[in-house]
Symmetry: C2
Subunit: 449 residues, 2 copies
């Protein structure tokens, strides 16, 4: 096959060492999710297009539709599209399997999603998300809204991501405030205010006025969006703006509860930030975004919120709350901008050398003995001279080279193992040797810049 | 969203307990692959359609093409399709990144693939494959052909799959034999003989004659396909058919070497079976299929082979050999037909009870202490009476319920933990309690039938 090979913009691929780093992130995420009792599910990559449509923002035009190159009569059914997040498919999964699930249902889900948006820094057309959600039948206890960002805080505390803030807002605050101001197009207003970071206050003000708001109403919206606190003092700041509405009261109480719990469990991690909007329409209460300090230009690396009516079959509603780590964005950000790196290019900790091709079975037996004891190893692909085999290991970051012994004219020679980083070489038996690297998994070097 | 929820034929989804089983399979597969020094990579889900086309069998018409619902000028490039295996994308990855890879390059890859074929037992439109491959530059040492099925044998020996056979053939045997017989359309002949299991010997004979073979040539093809041995005696059986060709000699020697190594490392696992063809055109030497004894109707659960020219940029060729576990097929087969099951529906080993909503922070602190020591747990979602909280744990297969103590009128009460399977309840401290279940991962029950 001599077709030209070219990268596809927006479909990034990692080299082996980078993939080992990504796997370290994925393993850590999964471990923390499981420690918190989230159960794994996976949904199919496709949904009927009609289920994907109408979730707000640019989602609709970013959907990838599917068609078989040779479609036949069987495919007369619904048109299929690749999912663009894991929340919409999860809501559908809950509806489809409700009778067989235990509620409140806590699940995690780590999968690829696809969005046909314009590729740019941190924005890909194919990327991996890691989500947790809790859904219940009819009503969902508010303590879950405080729990979600705290699980994420634990994940991030175990990863070399540097300093981060999880920003929390509540859609009821913006909605109640806008209604209290006398504005009626809640979603439209929110969408304009959401552009604040991109286009600045003056332009947002102009757009709000253009959409029918008075100067005073526009100023109020902007004043609300400026409020930010890592304790519950945001409540008084909102009150000071003199706007009153029962939905606003509800939102302030809910957000205060989340921030209060956050302060007691993981101080300094959660921030009430009344500018946070989230693009998708299905959120109805608490919303989250996460920024790495110094990585703000990449956008949020972990987002989510509460949705009260995403999963409903018309009779029963399953309200939920969830949060999603943008794993691809996070890992690419750290590799590209922070020098995230590892010394390993393979999981193998030992290269078993091969003296000559006739003795390959002997080297294979050594490898089998090491593997039986959980030590990952590779048998040298070729009986080159040992210097070349050591270079083979060195190039891949394999720390140890094993030299099988054997019988020669001078009698029985024992096996030896060399730490090629220090040069130290000792006699060893594959059935008893203890690998000095306690953690055989690739060592992740924390950020180099 | 009140749209009707219906399953999509060919896109199976697992319930939580089933997904825990699948993850046990995936974790075991990954562990063995890493023990053997295969390095992880992941390729994008899409390739330009022209790269996917022309790989033989029904692959072409099973490709899913992609189009953005709102395509714009940026998308004027190559048409994209979802990959139907992991070998074609891996070959492309090798070509694209060759300058940054270490050869021979050993990689594993566990991903979804998509084939728009007619859904039926064990055949899905979306499924997970777990592949290992080794590629080298210019030439590939033959010992890798013996290694691939032995890694799989180790994977399967750690999984509750029952008895299995890995069948091995070599395309040079069929090609050399057909040419020695005087038949010229090697691929066409192979494709007809490959139908043997489906349509029987008489129909294969008729098709061969129809395609231009004499009765004697057709009889020769059928006689070759009948040969099967778990040692190298197949060589003499082929010789006895009196056909001679240098390519046949090469194939017989290569297959004999694979079977010989297999017998010495994992006796009874490999079988030389000269009927094995594999549907895809890119194989050029050794080919593998794997059947579970008693599960033959489901087809091969692990297949692969050697490909000499799949990865070539016109100047350099990267020959490779690989094998791929059909994880979805395997897991569905075992769940549906063999009663593969687990008692767990969540990774949580402990449910921390909540005495009343005011003391939820105390229960959360207990959970945090347990998690810090690697014990997965969940805090009860609601301060129901304890009987109800125990039932909550029981329904999910959570083996332990933790009752936080506290201070009441009678003084300080210690925490207690109950094994709800045995009913035994003991005093415990979350910072020292040792969970008696050594392996906190969901216990996989071996096949129940």
């Amino acid at each position: 096959m001599a077709t030209k090979v070219t990268p596809l913009s927006g479909f990034p691929e990692l080299l082996p060492a980078e993939r080992l780093l990504e796997l370290h992130f994925l393993d850590t995420i999964r471990e923390v999710f499981e420690l918190h009792g989230f159960t794994p599910i996976e949904t199919r990559a496709v949904e009927p297009v009609e289920r994907l449509l109408g979730q707000g923002g640019d989602a609709d035009k970013e959907i990838y539709g599917l068609r078989r190159l040779a479609a036949d009569d069987e495919d007369k059914g619904a048109e299929l599209g690749l999912h663009f997040d894991l929340t919409v498919p999860f809501a559908r999964y809950v509806l489809e399997h409700a009778g067989k699930l235990d509620f409140p249902f806590r699940r995690y889900q780590i999968q690829k999603v696809w969005r046909g948006e314009r590729p740019q820094q941190g924005r890909f057309r194919e990327f991996t998300q890691a989500d947790i959600d809790v859904v219940d039948v009819g009503a969902l206890a508010p303590h879950f809204e405080a729990e979600m960002p705290l699980v994420i805080a634990e994940v991030f505390s175990r990863l070399p991501v540097g300093e981060f803030h999880i920003q929390v807002n509540n859609r009821k605050i913006t909605e109640g405030f806008y209604r209290g101001l006398g504005l009626t197009d809640n979603a439209g207003t929110l969408r304009i205010v959401d552009k604040l970071d991109k286009i600045g206050a003056a332009n947002v003000r102009a757009l709000l006025v253009e959409s029918g708001a008075t100067e005073e109403q526009a100023a109020g919206c902007l004043a609300l969006a400026e409020i930010r606190s890592d304790d519950t003092s945001f409540v008084d700041q909102v009150r000071a703006l003199g706007v009153d509405h029962p939905v606003l009261d509800e939102g302030l109480a809910e957000l205060a509860a989340v921030i209060e719990t956050g302060r007691s469990v993981a101080p300094g991690v959660l921030v009430a930030d009344l500018r946070i909007a989230r693009g998708l329409d299905y959120y109805t209460g608490t919303v989250y975004e996460t920024q790495l300090v110094g990585g703000e230009a990449w956008g949020s690396v972990c987002s989510g919120g509460r949705y009260d009516s995403l999963a409903s079959d018309g009779r029963t509603t399953y309200p939920g709350v969830g949060i999603s780590i943008g794993v691809s964005r996070l890992v690419h950000l750290l590799i590209d901008n922070r020098g995230l790196t590892t010394s390993r290019r393979t999981p193998a900790a030992v290269l078993v050398a091969v003296t000559d091709e006739e003795s390959r079975p002997h080297s294979t037996a050594v490898a089998t003995a090491l593997r039986a004891r959980g030590i990952p190893c590779e048998v040298a692909p070729k009986a080159d001279r040992f210097g070349k085999q050591i270079r083979y290991a060195d190039r891949r970051g394999i720390p140890y080279v094993w030299f099988p012994g054997g019988r020669d004219d001078s009698g029985e020679r024992p096996d030896q193992v060399k730490d090629i980083r220090s040069g130290e070489q000792v006699e060893a038996d594959p059935s008893t040797w203890v690998c000095p690297d306690a953690d055989l998994r690739p060592a992740v070097v924390t950020l180099t810049r």
